[in-house]
């Protein structure tokens, strides 16, 4: 398999603290790869090594097949990077910033004339391109950050917390934008605290803590292999004893608790069995008002892995 990003034994310390510890990270080409971890897990440090802001103490890192060796403009030519809480020169306007950065990518003036207004429109900054960045809100600066990361139509896009500072509408827009970019055959490494966001848009995920990779792979595989016991919480109108009995008899159900019209079903499987249960209920005349499966979602897996890692560290 071809990897857009590949690290091998990547290690970086700050004094006595190991920020990244022998990290092996593989990001497949044309994937949206979520990079998850609690604060201080080593996500941003790893990303900064990849984009040349930091030098690794040991190990190797490759981006789009080229070794990352400190200050290498050629590698960065094909990479777009959105830093966490990006800061841009306040004296420039949004349009000037994109034009200057575009020039640094080697884009011609005629290219920039077309691309810059289009990008400003894409990130929702139409009409604000000629305002100084100093007058931008945090959300607008974040949008500008996304625009500058997309400037050169990069093969690889590294986004560090792209939704920070955005309102809910902005978050949805960014998610849709990321999906749309990935659909054009681009690779995206998305570092985020928002598990829901990662689950929504990523095809793959790597979870790290204390600089160590805890799990990595396609999201379904990671959640399926690592999740513990799962349960389903339901609210049913027209609940009958016959429905309860029928559910209890299902082979994957280990136990069931009923409180009025609320059911809590403990499962012996990690598979998604919501369809089978809902079919059984509706065929017996019940109406499902609410249904949620817990335990095999990314959040549960993440919390489980991180707490296990914290215990081991202690």
């Amino acid at each position: 398999m071809e990897f857009a990003i590949e690290t091998n034994g990547l290690t970086k310390s700050f004094g006595a603290i190991k920020a990244v510890d022998n990290l092996n990270l593989c990001v497949s080409s044309n994937s949206i790869h979520g990079f998850l971890g609690p604060n201080g897990a080593g996500k941003s440090t790893t990303i900064k090594i990849l984009v040349g802001l930091l030098r690794a103490d040991s190990g190797r890192a490759k981006i789009l097949g080229a070794d990352v060796k400190g200050d290498d403009p050629r590698t960065r030519q094909k990479v777009g990077y959105l830093p966490e809480l990006p800061k841009f020169p306040k004296h420039l306007t949004g349009q000037e910033l994109l034009e200057i950065y575009g020039q640094m990518y080697g884009m011609s003036r005629s290219q920039l004339k077309t691309v810059v207004p289009k990008l400003l429109e894409t990130v929702g900054l139409t009409g604000r391109g000629k305002s100084r960045i100093g007058s931008y809100s945090k959300g607008m600066q974040q949008r500008l950050g996304i625009a500058q990361a997309l400037l050169s139509d990069p093969e690889l896009l590294i986004l560090d917390e792209p939704s920070i500072g955005l309102d809910p509408v902005g978050m949805v827009e960014v998610r849709d934008l990321i999906k749309s970019i990935a659909s054009h055959g681009r690779t995206i490494l998305l570092s985020s605290h928002m598990l829901y966001e990662v689950e929504q848009i990523c095809t793959h995920v790597t979870i790290i803590n204390h600089g160590v990779s805890l799990a990595s792979g396609p999201i379904e595989e990671v959640t399926k292999h690592l999740s513990g016991k799962t349960s389903i919480e339901m609210e049913i109108v027209n609940m009958k004893d016959s429905i309860e009995e029928a559910i209890r008899r299902m082979p994957f159900v280990s136990s069931l608790t009923r409180r009025g019209r609320h059911l809590s079903i403990q499962l012996q499987t990690k598979d998604d069995v919501r369809t089978q249960i809902s079919q059984l209920i509706t065929s017996n005349g019940g109406i499902i008002v609410h249904m949620a499966q817990h335990g095999n979602d990314l959040e549960s897996v993440f919390l489980q892995l991180v707490s296990r890692s914290e215990e081991q560290t202690k």
């Binding site: 802001l53 200050d71 050629r74 990479v79 004296h91 950065y101 080697g106 884009m107």
Partner: protein, 308 residues
Amino acid sequence: MTKEKPLGKDSIFYRFMAIVRYEILWHIRKKKVLGLLILVFSLATLSFVLPVVLGNIYNRPVNADPDHVINSGAFLGELGFFLLAIVTAMNSISGEFESGTIVPLLTKPISRTVVFLGKLFATFLILLLTYSFYFLYMAVGGSIVYGPQNNLQLMPLVLLGSLISTFVWVSIVLAIGSLSRSSLTAALGAFGVWLGLSLGIGIFSAVSGETWILHYVPGGGARGFMKTGEGAPNSGPIVQTGTGSIGDNLVKLFLNPAAEVNFFTAQTPLYTESLALILTRSLIVAGVYISIFLFVAWFALRRAQIAD
């Protein structure tokens, strides 16, 4: 959306110009630079207006002086060069670190060396522009107040010398700024160096009589008197040997190619040197300082790790 452009020589120059534009816009829109320009031009205006006003008050009309402009060409002096260097260079690299703008800048496909050179070139252009306007203003103002001026064709030499003198301090400010990543440290550190050299070395050389030390440190340097063949040996025009007097000495040498300079401690003659030697030495000293400190600044930026 766009197609990648290959990295070639032309392309590197094109990217270099992006840094120059980035930096010049910052200089132009920075209120501190505007403030200093206003101050410098106000002082220059005052230097013309004050003699006229005082002359009217005390009933002593200003006499025509055809050499006024060329003799006061280096009006800004060592403090002026130092202040201009501080204002133009103190934030150039360290400001990027402080504001966090270094992160998006250094992750663009442009090497840190090009970033450094672009910033340096922009600083040079800003100083060139400032000095050009300043000397033009001096020439026009001087001609109005003191009548037609001699040797105005030598003003470019003053301009060149002033740029070299200022760049000694620019390189020191950049080096301290790159190492400390703090604009305040860059400014205060450079001020400490300036004060230490101006006062410390000055006092030491005066007390010990070892005036030659002043030839080799940035600043005004030792003070001598040009031999004129008339009057006492210490009555001729003053010549300073430091990196801050290159412009002035260039003009003096052009007008007096064979000039010699006498040095004294108290009233005792010490030694005599040719003006050509003094100028050559100050150019070499300036060159060495500029090279060393710019190398330190470049190396610090090139090796900088950005964790925050």
